[in-house]
Symmetry: C2
Protein backbone atom coordinates (compact mmCIF):
# COMPACT_ATOMS: atom_id res chain seq x y z
CA UNK A 1 0.00 0.00 0.00
CA UNK A 2 1.17 3.47 -0.78
CA UNK A 3 2.24 5.33 2.32
CA UNK A 4 1.90 9.06 2.15
CA UNK A 5 4.11 9.61 5.13
CA UNK A 6 7.22 7.55 5.36
CA UNK A 7 8.30 6.10 8.67
CA UNK A 8 6.79 9.12 10.25
CA UNK A 9 6.88 8.13 13.85
CA UNK A 10 9.88 5.92 14.12
CA UNK A 11 12.00 8.65 12.58
CA UNK A 12 11.04 11.20 15.15
CA UNK A 13 13.66 12.65 17.38
CA UNK A 14 12.80 14.08 20.76
CA UNK A 15 12.24 17.52 19.27
CA UNK A 16 9.18 19.18 20.75
CA UNK A 17 7.78 21.38 18.04
CA UNK A 18 4.12 21.88 18.65
CA UNK A 19 3.57 20.53 22.08
CA UNK A 20 4.65 23.55 24.04
CA UNK A 21 2.50 26.55 24.72
CA UNK A 22 5.04 29.33 24.48
CA UNK A 23 6.39 31.15 21.47
CA UNK A 24 10.04 31.87 20.91
CA UNK A 25 12.07 34.19 18.78
CA UNK A 26 12.44 33.07 15.19
CA UNK A 27 15.84 32.12 13.91
CA UNK A 28 15.04 33.21 10.37
CA UNK A 29 13.16 35.90 8.58
CA UNK A 30 10.61 33.42 7.28
CA UNK A 31 6.96 34.43 7.22
CA UNK A 32 3.91 32.20 6.71
CA UNK A 33 3.35 31.69 2.98
CA UNK A 34 0.33 33.45 1.58
CA UNK A 35 -2.38 31.39 -0.07
CA UNK A 36 -1.13 27.98 1.03
CA UNK A 37 -4.72 26.84 1.60
CA UNK A 38 -5.17 27.09 -2.15
CA UNK A 39 -2.10 24.95 -2.89
CA UNK A 40 -2.17 21.31 -3.93
CA UNK A 41 -3.23 19.04 -1.06
CA UNK A 42 -0.59 16.33 -0.90
CA UNK A 43 -1.98 14.13 1.88
CA UNK A 44 -3.28 14.10 5.44
CA UNK A 45 -1.98 12.22 8.46
CA UNK A 46 -3.08 12.21 12.10
CA UNK A 47 -0.67 11.90 15.00
CA UNK A 48 -2.84 10.73 17.88
CA UNK A 49 -2.30 10.54 21.63
CA UNK A 50 -1.26 6.91 21.15
CA UNK A 51 1.83 8.08 19.33
CA UNK A 52 5.10 8.75 21.14
CA UNK A 53 5.29 11.79 18.85
CA UNK A 54 2.07 13.33 20.13
CA UNK A 55 3.74 15.81 22.47
CA UNK A 56 6.00 16.94 19.67
CA UNK A 57 3.73 17.02 16.64
CA UNK A 58 0.31 15.73 17.69
CA UNK A 59 -2.56 16.79 15.47
CA UNK A 60 -4.18 16.38 12.09
CA UNK A 61 -1.60 17.34 9.46
CA UNK A 62 -2.92 18.61 6.14
CA UNK A 63 0.12 18.84 3.89
CA UNK A 64 0.15 21.26 0.95
CA UNK A 65 2.82 22.07 -1.62
CA UNK A 66 3.23 25.09 -3.88
CA UNK A 67 3.34 24.82 -7.66
CA UNK A 68 7.14 24.83 -7.81
CA UNK A 69 7.41 22.00 -5.33
CA UNK A 70 4.53 20.03 -6.84
CA UNK A 71 6.30 19.66 -10.15
CA UNK A 72 9.31 18.09 -8.43
CA UNK A 73 7.16 15.98 -6.13
CA UNK A 74 5.30 14.51 -9.11
CA UNK A 75 8.38 13.88 -11.20
CA UNK A 76 10.62 12.82 -8.31
CA UNK A 77 13.25 15.33 -9.39
CA UNK A 78 15.29 17.79 -7.34
CA UNK A 79 13.22 20.41 -5.55
CA UNK A 80 14.15 23.81 -6.96
CA UNK A 81 14.69 26.78 -4.69
CA UNK A 82 11.38 28.33 -3.60
CA UNK A 83 9.69 24.94 -3.35
CA UNK A 84 7.52 25.10 -0.24
CA UNK A 85 5.67 22.47 1.78
CA UNK A 86 3.16 23.63 4.39
CA UNK A 87 1.77 21.32 7.06
CA UNK A 88 -1.41 22.87 8.34
CA UNK A 89 -1.77 21.22 11.74
CA UNK A 90 -5.22 21.09 13.29
CA UNK A 91 -6.70 19.94 16.53
CA UNK A 92 -9.02 16.95 16.10
CA UNK A 93 -11.84 15.30 17.94
CA UNK A 94 -12.83 11.65 18.01
CA UNK A 95 -16.53 10.89 18.18
CA UNK A 96 -17.81 7.35 17.86
CA UNK A 97 -14.70 6.32 16.00
CA UNK A 98 -14.67 9.27 13.61
CA UNK A 99 -11.77 11.72 13.56
CA UNK A 100 -12.90 15.25 12.72
CA UNK A 101 -10.78 18.27 11.99
CA UNK A 102 -10.84 21.15 14.46
CA UNK A 103 -9.18 24.53 14.79
CA UNK A 104 -5.65 25.33 13.66
CA UNK A 105 -2.92 24.28 16.06
CA UNK A 106 0.07 25.38 14.07
CA UNK A 107 1.50 25.93 10.64
CA UNK A 108 4.77 24.15 9.83
CA UNK A 109 6.67 25.12 6.72
CA UNK A 110 9.77 23.96 4.89
CA UNK A 111 11.13 26.12 2.08
CA UNK A 112 13.95 25.18 -0.28
CA UNK A 113 17.00 27.38 -0.64
CA UNK A 114 19.93 25.12 -1.28
CA UNK A 115 22.52 27.75 -0.52
CA UNK A 116 20.98 29.58 2.42
CA UNK A 117 19.93 26.42 4.24
CA UNK A 118 22.80 24.13 3.26
CA UNK A 119 23.24 23.06 6.89
CA UNK A 120 19.72 21.58 7.02
CA UNK A 121 19.54 19.78 3.70
CA UNK A 122 18.74 22.90 1.71
CA UNK A 123 15.48 23.46 3.54
CA UNK A 124 14.52 26.28 5.88
CA UNK A 125 12.04 25.38 8.60
CA UNK A 126 9.61 27.32 10.75
CA UNK A 127 6.47 26.65 12.77
CA UNK A 128 3.96 29.31 13.76
CA UNK A 129 1.78 28.50 16.74
CA UNK A 130 -1.87 28.72 15.78
CA UNK A 131 -0.67 29.82 12.36
CA UNK A 132 -0.01 33.25 13.87
CA UNK A 133 2.82 35.14 12.08
CA UNK A 134 3.64 36.74 15.42
CA UNK A 135 4.30 33.37 17.03
CA UNK A 136 7.23 31.68 15.31
CA UNK A 137 8.35 28.73 17.37
CA UNK A 138 11.52 27.32 15.85
CA UNK A 139 14.75 28.72 17.24
CA UNK A 140 17.05 25.92 16.15
CA UNK A 141 15.88 24.24 12.97
CA UNK A 142 18.74 21.75 13.01
CA UNK A 143 17.57 20.34 16.31
CA UNK A 144 13.84 20.98 16.24
CA UNK A 145 13.11 20.03 12.61
CA UNK A 146 16.04 18.54 10.74
CA UNK A 147 16.63 16.00 13.47
CA UNK A 148 13.59 14.15 12.13
CA UNK A 149 13.75 15.12 8.48
CA UNK A 150 17.31 13.85 8.12
CA UNK A 151 15.86 10.33 8.15
CA UNK A 152 14.34 11.14 4.76
CA UNK A 153 17.67 11.91 3.11
CA UNK A 154 16.88 9.50 0.27
CA UNK A 155 13.72 11.52 -0.40
CA UNK A 156 15.29 14.95 -0.29
CA UNK A 157 14.32 15.20 3.41
CA UNK A 158 10.60 15.21 2.56
CA UNK A 159 8.24 12.83 4.38
CA UNK A 160 5.35 13.14 1.94
CA UNK A 161 5.06 11.27 -1.32
CA UNK A 162 2.80 11.94 -4.27
CA UNK A 163 -0.63 10.35 -4.30
CA UNK A 164 -2.41 10.97 -7.64
Amino acid sequence: MVQAFRAFVTALSAAAILGMGTAALADTKLTPPKGYRQWFHVNTAIVTKDSPAYDAIGGLHNVYVNAIGLKALKSDTTYPDKSVFASDVHEFTVTDGVYNEGSRKGLAVMIKDAKQYAATGGWGFQVWLGGDPAKPFVTDAAKQCFGCHTSQKDHQFVFSSYLP
Copy 2:
Protein backbone atom coordinates in the same frame (compact mmCIF):
# COMPACT_ATOMS: atom_id res chain seq x y z
CA MET B 1 -14.18 23.97 18.46
CA VAL B 2 -14.89 24.18 14.80
CA GLN B 3 -16.15 20.93 13.43
CA ALA B 4 -15.46 20.29 9.78
CA PHE B 5 -17.93 17.47 9.57
CA ARG B 6 -21.24 17.92 11.32
CA ALA B 7 -22.77 15.06 13.22
CA PHE B 8 -21.17 12.81 10.73
CA VAL B 9 -21.75 9.48 12.35
CA THR B 10 -24.94 9.93 14.21
CA ALA B 11 -26.62 11.08 11.04
CA LEU B 12 -25.72 8.00 9.09
CA SER B 13 -28.41 5.73 7.82
CA ALA B 14 -27.75 2.09 7.14
CA ALA B 15 -26.75 2.82 3.58
CA ALA B 16 -23.75 0.77 2.55
CA ILE B 17 -21.86 2.87 0.08
CA LEU B 18 -18.25 1.86 0.10
CA GLY B 19 -18.22 -1.29 2.15
CA MET B 20 -19.16 -3.71 -0.60
CA GLY B 21 -16.79 -5.11 -3.12
CA THR B 22 -19.00 -5.23 -6.19
CA ALA B 23 -19.91 -2.54 -8.64
CA ALA B 24 -23.42 -1.86 -9.85
CA LEU B 25 -24.94 -0.07 -12.77
CA ALA B 26 -25.05 3.69 -12.36
CA ASP B 27 -28.38 5.42 -12.08
CA THR B 28 -27.12 8.61 -13.69
CA LYS B 29 -24.83 9.71 -16.46
CA LEU B 30 -22.42 11.26 -14.00
CA THR B 31 -18.72 10.81 -14.60
CA PRO B 32 -15.85 11.49 -12.18
CA PRO B 33 -14.94 15.18 -12.30
CA LYS B 34 -11.64 15.95 -13.95
CA GLY B 35 -8.98 17.71 -11.94
CA TYR B 36 -10.63 17.40 -8.54
CA ARG B 37 -7.23 16.74 -6.96
CA GLN B 38 -6.37 20.33 -7.84
CA TRP B 39 -9.53 21.71 -6.20
CA PHE B 40 -9.68 23.45 -2.83
CA HIS B 41 -9.13 21.02 0.03
CA VAL B 42 -12.02 21.60 2.43
CA ASN B 43 -11.13 19.20 5.22
CA THR B 44 -10.23 15.62 6.06
CA ALA B 45 -12.02 13.15 8.30
CA ILE B 46 -11.31 9.51 9.11
CA VAL B 47 -14.05 6.96 9.70
CA THR B 48 -12.32 4.17 11.61
CA LYS B 49 -13.27 0.60 12.44
CA ASP B 50 -14.56 1.87 15.79
CA SER B 51 -17.34 3.70 13.96
CA PRO B 52 -20.71 2.10 13.28
CA ALA B 53 -20.36 3.75 9.87
CA TYR B 54 -17.19 1.89 8.97
CA ASP B 55 -18.85 -0.72 6.79
CA ALA B 56 -20.68 2.02 4.92
CA ILE B 57 -18.10 4.73 4.52
CA GLY B 58 -14.96 3.65 6.34
CA GLY B 59 -11.80 5.38 5.20
CA LEU B 60 -9.86 8.60 5.17
CA HIS B 61 -12.03 11.22 3.46
CA ASN B 62 -10.25 14.08 1.74
CA VAL B 63 -13.01 16.51 0.77
CA TYR B 64 -12.51 18.90 -2.15
CA VAL B 65 -14.81 21.50 -3.70
CA ASN B 66 -14.68 23.14 -7.11
CA ALA B 67 -14.41 26.91 -7.56
CA ILE B 68 -18.17 27.38 -8.02
CA GLY B 69 -18.96 25.55 -4.82
CA LEU B 70 -16.12 27.14 -2.86
CA LYS B 71 -17.56 30.59 -3.32
CA ALA B 72 -20.86 29.50 -1.80
CA LEU B 73 -19.16 27.47 0.94
CA LYS B 74 -17.14 30.50 2.02
CA SER B 75 -20.01 32.95 1.92
CA ASP B 76 -22.63 30.51 3.23
CA THR B 77 -24.89 31.30 0.29
CA THR B 78 -26.92 29.01 -1.96
CA TYR B 79 -24.83 26.55 -3.94
CA PRO B 80 -25.28 27.36 -7.62
CA ASP B 81 -25.78 24.62 -10.18
CA LYS B 82 -22.49 22.95 -11.12
CA SER B 83 -21.17 23.23 -7.57
CA VAL B 84 -19.33 19.98 -6.92
CA PHE B 85 -17.96 18.34 -3.78
CA ALA B 86 -15.64 15.36 -4.14
CA SER B 87 -14.77 13.08 -1.25
CA ASP B 88 -11.61 11.24 -2.18
CA VAL B 89 -11.76 8.21 0.11
CA HIS B 90 -8.53 6.42 0.90
CA GLU B 91 -7.51 3.36 2.79
CA PHE B 92 -5.44 4.13 5.85
CA THR B 93 -3.00 2.41 8.13
CA VAL B 94 -2.35 2.98 11.81
CA THR B 95 1.23 2.62 13.00
CA ASP B 96 2.22 3.52 16.54
CA GLY B 97 -0.76 5.82 16.86
CA VAL B 98 -0.27 7.59 13.53
CA TYR B 99 -2.91 7.40 10.80
CA ASN B 100 -1.38 7.42 7.33
CA GLU B 101 -3.13 7.74 4.01
CA GLY B 102 -3.09 4.75 1.66
CA SER B 103 -4.46 3.93 -1.75
CA ARG B 104 -7.75 5.18 -3.14
CA LYS B 105 -10.82 3.29 -1.96
CA GLY B 106 -13.47 5.28 -3.72
CA LEU B 107 -14.47 8.65 -5.06
CA ALA B 108 -17.77 10.09 -3.83
CA VAL B 109 -19.24 13.11 -5.56
CA MET B 110 -22.21 15.38 -5.11
CA ILE B 111 -23.06 17.83 -7.89
CA LYS B 112 -25.68 20.56 -7.72
CA ASP B 113 -28.45 20.74 -10.28
CA ALA B 114 -31.49 22.07 -8.50
CA LYS B 115 -33.91 21.04 -11.23
CA GLN B 116 -32.54 17.69 -12.30
CA TYR B 117 -31.98 16.43 -8.76
CA ALA B 118 -34.92 18.09 -7.01
CA ALA B 119 -35.84 14.78 -5.36
CA THR B 120 -32.51 14.64 -3.51
CA GLY B 121 -32.13 18.21 -2.32
CA GLY B 122 -30.85 19.47 -5.65
CA TRP B 123 -27.76 17.29 -5.50
CA GLY B 124 -26.82 14.37 -7.71
CA PHE B 125 -24.71 11.68 -6.06
CA GLN B 126 -22.37 8.99 -7.28
CA VAL B 127 -19.53 6.88 -5.92
CA TRP B 128 -16.91 5.17 -8.05
CA LEU B 129 -15.15 2.23 -6.46
CA GLY B 130 -11.42 2.79 -6.44
CA GLY B 131 -12.14 6.01 -8.29
CA ASP B 132 -12.63 3.92 -11.44
CA PRO B 133 -15.06 5.57 -13.91
CA ALA B 134 -16.10 2.08 -14.98
CA LYS B 135 -17.23 1.20 -11.46
CA PRO B 136 -20.08 3.48 -10.44
CA PHE B 137 -21.68 2.14 -7.30
CA VAL B 138 -24.78 4.18 -6.55
CA THR B 139 -28.01 2.83 -8.02
CA ASP B 140 -30.42 4.63 -5.73
CA ALA B 141 -29.09 7.98 -4.56
CA ALA B 142 -32.15 8.67 -2.43
CA LYS B 143 -31.46 5.61 -0.30
CA GLN B 144 -27.71 5.23 -0.54
CA CYS B 145 -26.70 8.91 -0.20
CA PHE B 146 -29.53 11.27 0.58
CA GLY B 147 -30.64 9.15 3.51
CA CYS B 148 -27.67 10.58 5.40
CA HIS B 149 -27.33 13.95 3.75
CA THR B 150 -30.93 14.85 4.53
CA SER B 151 -29.82 15.39 8.14
CA GLN B 152 -27.89 18.43 6.89
CA LYS B 153 -30.94 20.17 5.45
CA ASP B 154 -30.07 23.34 7.37
CA HIS B 155 -26.69 23.33 5.63
CA GLN B 156 -27.94 22.68 2.12
CA PHE B 157 -27.34 18.93 2.67
CA VAL B 158 -23.58 19.44 2.91
CA PHE B 159 -21.65 17.92 5.84
CA SER B 160 -18.50 19.98 5.41
CA SER B 161 -18.04 23.51 6.66
CA TYR B 162 -15.41 26.04 5.73
CA LEU B 163 -12.13 26.09 7.63
CA PRO B 164 -9.97 29.06 6.58
